[in-house]
Amino acid sequence: MRGPAFVELLEAAVPGGVVGTNLEAIDPWVEVVPAAVADVCRWLHDSSETGFDSLQCITAVDWFESDPKKAAKAGWDPHLELVYHLWSTRARVSLVLKTKLPRWKDDQPGQPPEVASVAGIWRSADWHEREVYDLSGVRFVGHPDLRRILCPEDWEGFPLRKDYEMPLEYHGIRGR
């Protein structure tokens, strides 16, 4: 079930959802559009052929280069990438799902981009999405309780963004 056949199956299940694949990478991955994340995940979880019953990890990667010279050579536009690592306990195979989000919603800095939550599909997504929201600033729509998890609740900014700057002062504690 690995390889192109699986991608075809996925494309058939969620038409227009898959926008790119890389099957030659060390960890082959499938890229889906943000709007289809929930549908794809639901299918991956429920479908008996795949049965990815466990979500191991959600990672947000901030593709952003603050140095304009390097940014010109980077070969990508600034964006935010969500990486889902799925695992099937029955078939004992893993799957990497990626989706690209804008860095800020409507290009307004400070406004986290939005994507559908998968906490209803895998309960493990609950805390992982909270962590991604906390550290990288992605708003998961439909999450039951989207709060900061590691940082204090009144913390400002998203520390794992590449352009994040430590606050000068937090409740009287020097930051920098």
């Binding site: 060390i26 960890d27 466990s54 990486v83 962590e131 940082c151």
Partner: protein, 402 residues
């Protein structure tokens, strides 16, 4: 009187209208294993809701990882699960090696197995001892630490550190074993083997222990998988999964040729049911007792693996190989690798971009997912069960908060 759980005989029916109370368990509390804070909503002794608050030990490990080279990140992995630093070193090293398509020598491979399994024993000993502490018995804790000290002595001889080893590293290990080490290791194993029976007498088969853990915090296999639980927590629920056998090739290749049975209940029995205590009648698959027992069996399993590794390692003639340079460039691309750490599956995700520094480092912590199931397990339990359940998950806050 928030909810009535009819079928649970432990819940005393309330005759008096009482008021709910919010109680803070932690971050300074004797049995929350560090700085975990649990907000309990209780009605008398009955807990209706538990909300974990984490982050008190957040040290920005992932952000730091983006600013140092891959090999420099090794000491930071030590400080995640500080009770099993060796296994964390191994997980990160393998992930970087996977990205660099590096293969360590045969001798380094067996030494890694040897060290990692010793680390597993050391971690499970803490888990076991601290669990006794959670249930109010102090002595097993010291018995466990007495044996752990011996392992730490061995580690100290091998790498000079007792807690944060940075021994296993990208491309191999920082040093070979000192002369005579293998003999001492074997001597330790021989000493340790009969002591396990003491642990079983003090805890596993102790009537009060069974009463306190049997049937408490039952985690169904479906729920365990859904919550992303792993390690003994997952296997305690009867899910047959062990990354050492089911993981990615680069990790399973390490255990190639080793004989071991995954410690999980199959058809109502554990692989070692004959030699070790039978499952008591009070215990239900997926409860605290099973999680604890799986850990105890894994200790035995690890001892066997260590014995095999000692044989293989001493049979190796080649060199240990050299670790990569501190500022070795890592290729572009992204890899994710999960290894079977004592607490569960520890995943490292790393993105390289051709410079020595990774573009992104992500640590998928097993305790993080294991802890997230806590509110589910503590539904309607008694206050005294909360430490029992938290202890059976065997969490380490350093790994959860990173």
């Amino acid at each position: 009187m928030s909810q009535v759980i009819d079928d649970d005989p432990r819940i005393i029916e309330f005759d008096v209208r009482t008021d709910e109370m919010l109680v803070n368990m932690g971050p300074q509390h004797p049995s929350t294993h560090g700085v975990l804070r649990l907000v309990l909503r209780t009605d008398g002794e009955v807990v209706s809701e538990v909300e974990p608050h984490i982050g008190y030990l957040h040290r920005c490990a992932e952000k730091i990882g983006e600013n140092i080279s891959a090999r420099q990140f090794i000491p930071y992995t030590d400080r995640m699960d500080y009770l099993a630093g060796m296994n964390m070193n191994l997980g990160w090293s393998l992930a970087v090696e996977k990205l660099m398509r590096l293969q360590v020598t045969e001798k380094a491979r067996h030494l890694r197995v040897l060290i990692a399994e010793l680390g597993r024993i050391a971690s499970h000993l803490v888990g076991m001892g601290a669990y006794g502490l959670d249930l109010g018995t102090f002595s097993p804790f010291l018995y466990a630490f007495r044996e752990r000290e011996k392992i730490l002595n061995l580690f100290e001889e091998a790498c000079g550190a007792r807690l944060t080893y940075s021994y296993i590293t990208v491309g191999g290990l920082t040093a070979d074993l000192p002369p005579g080490w293998l003999g001492r290791c074997e001597a330790f194993l021989n000493e340790f083997e009969p002591i396990i029976r003491e642990y079983h007498a003090l805890l596993t088969t102790n009537a009060i222990f069974v009463k306190r853990t049997g049937g408490i915090g039952v985690l169904s296999p479906e729920m365990a998988i859904n919550y992303g639980c792993s390690g003994p927590v997952l296997r305690g629920s009867g899910v047959d999964q062990d990354m050492r056998r089911d993981g990615e090739p680069i990790y399973t290749a390490m255990y190639d040729g080793y004989a071991f049975e995954v410690a999980v209940m199959k058809d109502g029995t554990y692989p070692r049911d004959r030699a070790y205590p039978a499952v008591p009648a009070d215990a239900v698959l997926g409860d605290c007792w099973h999680r604890f027992f799986v850990r105890m069996l894994e200790v035995v399993q690890s001892m066997e693996l260590i014995r095999q590794a000692i044989d293989r390692y001493s049979a190796c003639t080649g060199s240990l190989g050299e670790p990569v340079k501190i500022a070795e460039k890592i290729p572009a691309g992204d890899v994710y690798l999960e290894t079977e750490c004592p607490k569960g599956q520890m995943g490292f995700y790393l993105i390289g971009n051709g410079t020595p520094k990774p573009w992104r480092v992500r640590a998928r912590s097993s305790s993080f997912s294991n802890l997230s199931v806590l509110p589910e397990l503590c539904h309607g339990c008694l206050i005294a069960d909360v430490p029992a359940i938290v202890g059976s998950l065997d969490i380490v806050m350093g790994e959860i908060d990173r």
